[in-house]
């Protein structure tokens, strides 16, 4: 598995500079608008982009079929990809918290959000990343990366539509806006648990897909 993760990291090297520059620009933007949530939100996008990009390169080079001629099983290939997704999850969370703390500290009183909000928003974003990865990964294995990109976009459109619908209903909107910190944290915790369960379920589906697939 280590070898497979190394492969993904090496393939990302060429994009490393681009991502670094983008993050610096986002931080500058966050400082300008006194809010770090844009930075954290776009970390989610980068995390997903990286995950999909590495899968895409594997597909283009037909690496997975070749890798199965190494002492690797389909299960190990899937494990490596999910572990990589978790590594990205950790990276998004750590970068989001550190970046958010840094900007909040730099902005001082001008910051629109506090340290607690940085942590909560980062964790929420990280969970959304993971929840998307949970859907995207088995779709990549089943349909290929290009088709699953459409699915990925469709998922976000559906989620956005659901939220738009909720906010269009007055009493729902009031309820959501008046949520206390305790209820909100409970919601985040439930979302976290669902994400974890989703991850396990998604992993098992991916293993089954890969074990039944022919190359």
């Amino acid at each position: 598995m280590k070898g497979l993760i190394l492969k993904d990291l090496y393939t990302l090297r060429q994009m490393g500079k681009v991502y670094l520059i983008s993050m610096v620009c986002l931080m500058a933007w966050g400082m300008a608008v006194h809010n770090s949530t844009m930075f954290t939100s776009l970390l989610l996008v980068y995390g997903l982009m990286i995950l999909i990009t590495t899968a895409s390169w594997d597909e283009v080079s037909h690496f997975n079929g070749y890798a199965l001629t190494f002492p690797l099983s389909p299960k190990k290939l899937v494990q490596a990809k999910y572990l990589f997704a978790l590594i990205l999850f950790a990276a998004i969370t750590v970068l989001g918290v550190l970046g958010g703390f840094g900007m909040t500290a730099a902005l001082g009183a001008k910051s629109e959000i506090g340290y607690g909000e940085v942590v909560v928003s980062t964790l929420s974003i990280s969970c959304i990343y993971l929840m998307t990865a949970v859907v995207v990964l088995p779709c990549n294995y089943k349909f290929g990366v290009e088709k699953s990109r459409f699915l990925f976009v469709a998922i976000y459109l559906i989620i956005f539509a659901c939220f738009a619908l909720l906010f269009s209903i007055d009493h729902m909107k009031q309820w959501l806006l008046n949520l206390g910190a305790r209820e909100f944290m409970t919601g985040v915790a439930v979302f976290g648990v669902l994400t974890l369960l989703g991850m396990i379920f998604s992993y098992r589906i991916s293993v089954r897909i890969m074990e039944n697939r022919e190359w």
Binding site: K7, F63, G65, A67, P71, L72
Partner: protein, 290 residues
């Protein structure tokens, strides 16, 4: 002697193609050339051997291990080369080394770099900057750098120039100098197979038509040029294929026994390409060359 590869009654069905009761044995220490026209079933057979596709019936044993033996342990001893580079193109040979060191228990880093130097595979460049020949040589260097006992190559020399192909064939000859090393490779460049193979396995439309020692094959088979009347008198059991030309008829026969070259009959040596051409044509159709 154990078989490095033993295939018994392999069957694989697709909607428009069937691999039908394929059986053969690749002796340890030999080079077996696997030939057939495009779509004959070479890659399907190889993928079934490697476990990349599920078979509908049959048994396959590799390196003396029974069918169903621990795959991962077996794969340590098998080196595979496909007809294209399968590494992501943004990595270098050093990255490949580090990656495979973590995957193969018996990865030989020094040998890998020695082979890369010998093949002229550049150090710092990314794979996307390599020529096609270099990419193929990288794959071969990888296949030979983890103490593999069996090399399986699927059209590995396709699209390569004669110089690179000759280099690769030399490498394969060197590899089997160890009597426990075996090479099983498929190609439709029959001249490559003719140069180094000990045995020839020919597949046509999903069925094995021929499995023979190369020298015996090339000595026994013959190309007879004669008139239609003389061709009609040849023993049908020995006739593999017939071509009618404007001036004469060419008949590929399995045995040159009893054939006497004379005024009305010329007997020529055959090449593997001739055997493939005549065998791949439908026996009931005779192709006319106008």
């Amino acid at each position: 002697m154990n078989g490095a590869i033993e295939v018994r009654n392999l069957v694989k069905r697709y909607p428009d193609f069937v691999l039908e009761n394929v059986s053969f044995r690749v002796p340890e220490g030999s080079i077996v050339g696997f030939i057939g026209e495009n779509g004959a079933g070479k890659s399907t057979t190889m993928k079934a051997i490697l476990g990349l596709i599920k078979r509908d019936d049959g048994e396959i044993s590799l390196l003396g291990e029974p069918d169903g033996a621990r795959e991962e342990a077996l794969k340590e001893q098998i080196g595979v080369v496909f007809d294209e580079n399968c590494f992501p193109e943004h990595i270098s040979r050093e990255d490949v080394n580090r990656m495979l060191k973590a995957i193969f228990k018996n990865w030989q880093e020094k040998l890998f770099f020695k082979l890369c130097e010998r093949f002229g595979i550049p150090g710092k460049k990314k794979i996307k900057e390599y020529s096609r020949g270099m990419k193929m040589k990288l794959s071969i260097a990888v296949a030979m750098s983890h103490q593999a006992r069996l090399l399986i190559l699927d059209e590995a020399t396709s699209g390569l120039d004669p110089v690179v192909r000759a280099e690769i064939l030399d490498m394969l000859r060197e590899f089997v100098m160890d009597e426990h090393h075996t090479v099983f490779f498929s190609s439709h460049i029959t001249s490559d197979i003719e140069k180094i193979a000990d045995y020839i396995l020919l597949i046509h439309k999903g069925r094995i038509l021929l499995y023979e020692d190369r020298d015996t094959l090339l000595e026994q088979y013959a190309l007879v040029r004669c008139s239609d009347e003389v061709a009609a008198k040849l023993d049908p059991k020995t006739v593999v294929g017939v071509r009618h030309g404007r001036f004469d008829t060419e008949v590929l026969v399995r045995s040159r026994e009893g054939l006497k070259p004379g005024e009305h009959l010329a007997v020529d040596r055959v090449s593997l390409e001739d055997i493939l051409l005549y065998t791949a044509e439908k026996p009931e159709n005779e192709r006319c060359i106008k």
